[in-house]
Point group: C2
Chain length 476, copies 2
Amino acid sequence: MAGKQIQFYYKNVLADVIGPEHGITAQQLDELAKQTTPLILKIKDEILTGNSRYGLLPGDPQIAKSVKALVKHFKPKCENLVVLGIGGSALGNIALQNALNPFTYNLDNNKRKGPRLFVFDNVDPAHFGSFLDFITPRLGKTVFNVISKSGQTAETASQFMIVQKMLETRFGKEKLKDRVVATTDLEKGTLRKIATDAGLHTLVVPDGVGGRFSVLSAVGLFSAAMTGINIDQLLAGAKDMHTRVTNPDFFKNPAAINAAIQIHYYNHNKRISVMMPYSSALYSFADWYRQLWAESLGKKYFLDGGEAYVGPTPVKALGATDQHSQVQLYREGPNDKIFTLLEIQDFGRKIRIPAPPKSARELNYLAKKDMGELLNAEKKATEYALCASNRPCVTVLFPKIDAYTVGQFIFLFEATTSFAGALLDVNTYDQPAVELGKQATFALMGKAGQYTPDRSYADFAAEIRAKTEFDANFVI
Amino acid sequence: MAGKQIQFYYKNVLADVIGPEHGITAQQLDELAKQTTPLILKIKDEILTGNSRYGLLPGDPQIAKSVKALVKHFKPKCENLVVLGIGGSALGNIALQNALNPFTYNLDNNKRKGPRLFVFDNVDPAHFGSFLDFITPRLGKTVFNVISKSGQTAETASQFMIVQKMLETRFGKEKLKDRVVATTDLEKGTLRKIATDAGLHTLVVPDGVGGRFSVLSAVGLFSAAMTGINIDQLLAGAKDMHTRVTNPDFFKNPAAINAAIQIHYYNHNKRISVMMPYSSALYSFADWYRQLWAESLGKKYFLDGGEAYVGPTPVKALGATDQHSQVQLYREGPNDKIFTLLEIQDFGRKIRIPAPPKSARELNYLAKKDMGELLNAEKKATEYALCASNRPCVTVLFPKIDAYTVGQFIFLFEATTSFAGALLDVNTYDQPAVELGKQATFALMGKAGQYTPDRSYADFAAEIRAKTEFDANFVI
């Protein structure tokens, strides 16, 4: 393996540490190993190597090549890159940017190694409008990357229609291709048609890859590469983690054991899974995890003719910040959570805390310490306090945050999700429950034609309006 | 009342809508009314009017006056305002800024009505260091607002020590007062001493007001007023909501009925409370709510000689964005959540979606619609889909987002929290479980002296290290 590896640490879930009521006993751990080990080869063959669900056969050189070619073409004249996408077409892009570029990237013109990056994943007119005011005078040096497998996602489609009109009005129809990259299906769908008609440069959302597993495909890689992130290292990290999560030995496979622990707790009334990075840069990866976990595992389950509803609820938190917001609940609220803490050994930057004024000797203990030492002490302190309250936690340890370790992290949690789905016996890769809301939106927006063979969208809209119209009897 | 009121809507929790298994029956609602009504006068007398816990006797003109005097003094030469605070000394400031100033406020020099605003609520050296690189050449026009009741909060203290040294080195000790405002206890504490010694301008964190209830005190108002937010309107909104949440009629009191519904569901195995604004601007208020709810209600409970752990887990989500991330779980995961949706009638901005290209007729339904119409259709669609899965939701309806409605919202949820705490029979205003982690941090950072009469910090640190040091047997 090419560099330093991230590590997974799980001692603080054991009964030896947090007691038998909430901890995992040696016997239970052996049972988890027995239950999970057969899944390793199965998942390796079906998902992690063969028919990849993750947007890459790890290290596939073709993807990086096509991305780099477009970066070479677009980067020189680009001062602003705007991603239009939602869900898996946004969360990974945001997470990579925040993890691997400085906090002041968009603000500090002196330090940037590429264009400013904006990711729009909502259709709030105040929010989008404020951005349009900013970008309109800068359109000449702005590139838009519209991302949608189908092109029918209402949010992304509407944003893109506005942008397309704006660009065509300003620069002429034939110039659209100089300012837009479309990331979409290879052959079919609405965005592919639009791209073909306008002669746009395109990148491919691979078949069979759900949005939430797509960050290491062109979906996430183009904006990353444009802003100077080393995508080769990202893919190298993923590839090396691939080796580790396909290890048939449960006790040496971080994805298998992580999933087994998570699902054990789900089955033992800890149905909330908190991810809490002790790193501001990694906070957006907790948000990425939140989609991965929720959409993959939150599923209706048919059993013996009845229905059941399963799936842990992922929660994002930030250390040390949320110690002053959530830790009261985490320690003294119901013991219904499993915590994943992210710890960084080397932040790549030292900031020395000076001595306090003489009148504030009570702060002497901070003097001459490094700020990173404080943050890591807070992580250990919280870990200790959680254990003292018999709350289970695991740690993912980053030697440092760079493209290589982040690539590992992504692949570790994608694989963990595949194991967790197999343990819960759900279809990890679909999202059927999202459809009703989409159709209801179509109906309310006045889509023509039939919702079902028996029913028009207009009729459906009338029903929704009747059910959601404010009833004055219940308004205060 | 001075302007348009926000409204609370609760029909979609009723058994008539989502069925008797998950809905509240007419009989249950009457019981909630009976149980909650006596609390209204009690909370009105003890908390909402008399000995205020919320940082203001609503509309107290003194607070706004002292804040405005300092704004007048500092604003003319200030291009960057940096808040150093954590928890309640940061979340309210961030929430006000994001709700009431444009998304591009810090970025767009042409549109700003005050200094750029930065709020630092973590001690990540990479994050803070990136900011120091940005601000160092701009120190001449930068003001720091350090916020801590005690001055002993390790995160804020260490940030401030770094900033104080930097400013004194650059401008001289005697000039610190031109660049720092300290918001702290009126008389005692570490930051008060430092401020007195350095002759700093100060604002007051009122006694008896927990951080999470302090946004409408000088804690939240100074940065808001500096960036052009109308704090008189904010306080006017709070005052008018005060009238509504002290209404002795349960069915006309939005805080009482909201708390009763929330705690009913907590007691009926829906222990997750999701707040999902359909507004990017209000997303940070979901984060503010998360602290308010978690720290106030997550409490150890002593009963009949035993211990119990209570408290709902608040979760923040964003509409429409999280439809593509969480709604799969929200509809087909366990029915263990109550949803609070925020809906905005008038976004103050219209953005027209143009007609799609001819090759994409399937998008015709979006043509000539307003983007806000789409966002609100998505809200209705999600509400409809949640009801179809028998998931309870309430809505807070904003006629528009401005200082007056945001002031109402803040006071509504502060009062809701007081009612909820009373219904759970916990002490809403303390946070005892945070202490152990703070003390453990002191110990790990090498604080001198005694942790308890029997034990030194050094001994305590040794114990924590022994318990949290990585054990190689459980590292993968």
